[in-house]
């Protein structure tokens, strides 16, 4: 039922999958996420939504080959099916006309920023998107983000495209131009979101981040995804995933994200063994 309608490789190890899920597509809003499960043996994996098409009944996700399960999903092809596809989950972004807003996407984080930027632009905002990646060849969804934004600034760590440096350098450039930025969405690796909120805290610009902790059910039932926001414990799956970045305890969130690193490595090693012809 939840089959891949379209697949596109965006960069090495990064795939875009458009998945048939009409009931989810009918309801999903920017900022929400889905949980997928490939088959009986698989984990439940939370994934952000890059796009949705209510008429076609599809949800588009973007996934990077970084671990056991993500490697398998990245390798899926058109026609392949997910056994389970749950959503929409989490609270939608607060879309309104703020004036000028900045949407920052780092690495894979560009995907979830996409529908938010588009909705903010449709709501009348002047949307300046700042996209970051390690290098030009790893930058994804540039065309889509240009269409969804009023302006786009690119930052690459190696300087192979746009500003040399991090998304914070791209943001600095935007602010230097004198824009009166009313709100910022920043989505990407935890370390990037932390850098952005550290930077914007002193400037007093409201900065919303989207948290991506470990999850199991995604409905508030297990509490695996708890994070600390303003010294209060929140469940990212039902209270978020978006939070006021200036209140999030990123150090705690990063430590929690590392809890299953050993198991993840074990699982991935096993996958690689199997791929090499199963010499065990």
């Amino acid at each position: 039922m939840y089959h891949v309608v379209k697949k596109r490789l965006l960069a090495t190890g990064i795939a875009l999958l458009e998945v048939n899920a009409p009931a989810v597509a009918a309801k999903v809003e920017p900022g929400q996420f889905v949980i997928v499960r490939l088959d009986e043996l698989s984990e439940r994996i939370p994934l952000t939504v890059m796009d949705f098409d209510r008429e076609k009944g599809t949800i588009t996700i973007v996934i990077q080959d970084v671990g056991y399960s993500s490697a398998i999903i990245t390798g899926m092809n058109e026609g392949d099916e997910f056994q389970d596809f749950v959503g929409p989950l989490g609270v939608a972004s607060e879309i309104e006309n703020y004036g000028t807003v900045v949407c920052i996407g780092g690495g894979l984080g560009i995907a979830p920023v996409h529908p938010i930027a588009r909705a903010l632009k449709e709501a009348g905002n002047h949307v300046i998107s700042v996209l970051g990646s390690r290098s030009a060849d790893l930058l994804i969804l540039e065309d889509e983000m240009r269409a969804a934004s009023s302006e786009v600034v690119i930052a690459t760590n190696d300087g192979s495209q746009g500003v040399k440096g991090f998304v914070t350098d791209g943001l600095a450039e935007v602010l230097a131009q004198g824009h009166q930025v009313k709100a910022i969405w920043a989505i990407g690796p935890m370390i990037m979101m932390k850098a952005v909120v550290d930077y914007t805290r002193s400037l007093g610009i409201k900065t919303i981040v989207s948290m991506n902790p470990i999850m199991v059910d995604g409905t508030g039932m297990c509490g695996a995804c708890r994070i600390s926001v303003g010294n209060e414990t929140k469940f990212a799956c039902v209270d978020g995933p978006e939070f006021d970045g200036h209140l999030v305890d990123f150090d705690l969130a990063m430590k929690r994200l590392a809890f299953y690193k050993d198991e993840e490595n074990r699982a991935k090693a096993r996958l690689e063994c199997n791929h090499e012809g199963g010499h065990h």
């Binding site: 989810v24 056994q83 389970d84 039932m221």
Partner: protein, 470 residues
Amino acid sequence: MTEKVESTKKVKIPRHDMPCQEPQVRAHNFEEVALGYAQETAVEEAKRCLQCKNPKCVTGCPVSVMIPEFIKKIAEGDFQEAGNVLKVKNSLPAVCGRVCPQEAQCESKCILGIKGESVAIGRLERFAADFGMQSGKSEVVKPQSSGKRVAIIGAGPAGLACAGDLAKAGHAVTVFEALHVAGGVLMYGIPQFRLPKEIVQTEIDNLKQMGVEILTNQVVGKITSVDELMENGYDAVFIGTGAGLPYFMDIPGENLNGVYSANEFLTRTNLMKGYKFPEYATPVKVGKNVAVLGAGNVAMDSARTALRLGAENVYIIYRRSRDEMPARKEELEHAEEEGIQFRLLTNPVAIEGDERGWVKSLTCLRYELGEPDASGRRAPVAIKGSEFEIPMDTVVVAIGQGPNPLVTTSTPGLELNKRGNIVADPETLVTSKPGVFAGGDIVTGAATVILAMGAGKKAAAGIDEYLKGK
């Protein structure tokens, strides 16, 4: 007179023990602990039943199972029919035979129990239900369609019991389940070694054969809402979303790596089959020393699960004494036999972590029993200066669950109490919203499987009545 002689004789026959895996063996596997009666034992045990004309046991059963009748069939050797009799009132007998607190329900009312030991009703229920399941000849009678449609939210014990009775009454039933499998707590919570998932699945498949439609991956409150269901042609809705919101203790260190809610710990292990990692991709880890905070059935399940996952020391940490522990006696005994260590009159005050943010130890305070409190139980009082630290790798918080707000907050017009539970009429289980019924933990707060099933059945009767009037 002969009856009296008979009963005096029967009182003297001891109740038959349940054969179990040896504690030292079962503590290291996930196979079912209780093995079930052999046929001869079941017949012998069934013959102990006095077949009271006015059976008290039935009054102790939340779903009014026809207890003397099914036991009589076992005594006669007609096991198949015993299973059929069970099913008249109970949609999930193989589950109830395993997880009901019979000692506090049917068996507590058994006349034999006054002078001796009550009939082992639960063990006989399990026997008859399992026989019916293994023979594969469970009866499916499809009643005439009423033309009415009912949506049930949540495929746990309340929802499934409600679905079974509504289907029997001829209504078209669709169950919306948030997780990827139906069963609710029977699948994600209660461990394999106490309730094999294959048994739950068979019971659910029976419901499907009766015509119940079950849709998984449907998070009501997100993908659809109660109002939308009513607009889309459902004549009534039953909300049985359970107690799916884990409580934490609110002590320092609860967000350290290695602190699990019991819900997460059990879900990873049972639903996601983390005990088979890496064959199954969801990991769960326990380390050497595990503390389970709380002393209810969920705490016992968590502790025994931790042991089976390879923990060396598993502690139950509870601030009251043994007499106040809310877990079933049988669960306590099983846990103790397996080597779970009880630290009673002990309350955790903080979880200490290392520099990586992982659990390192648990700091506790010793308590003593003081005067009775509002609940009538002697209140535990902290002993000043009694803090002590136990090295720990994992802490499982099993102090209870609250109502999950996803459905209730997305349903305008639904009256809730101050704890967030749905207010429902105790007889019909109708809520403040016309056509919407609710039952189980979402109404009562966290309770037992059988009470939820009883509520589901009650609601089914209430819904049936409501639909007749429509």
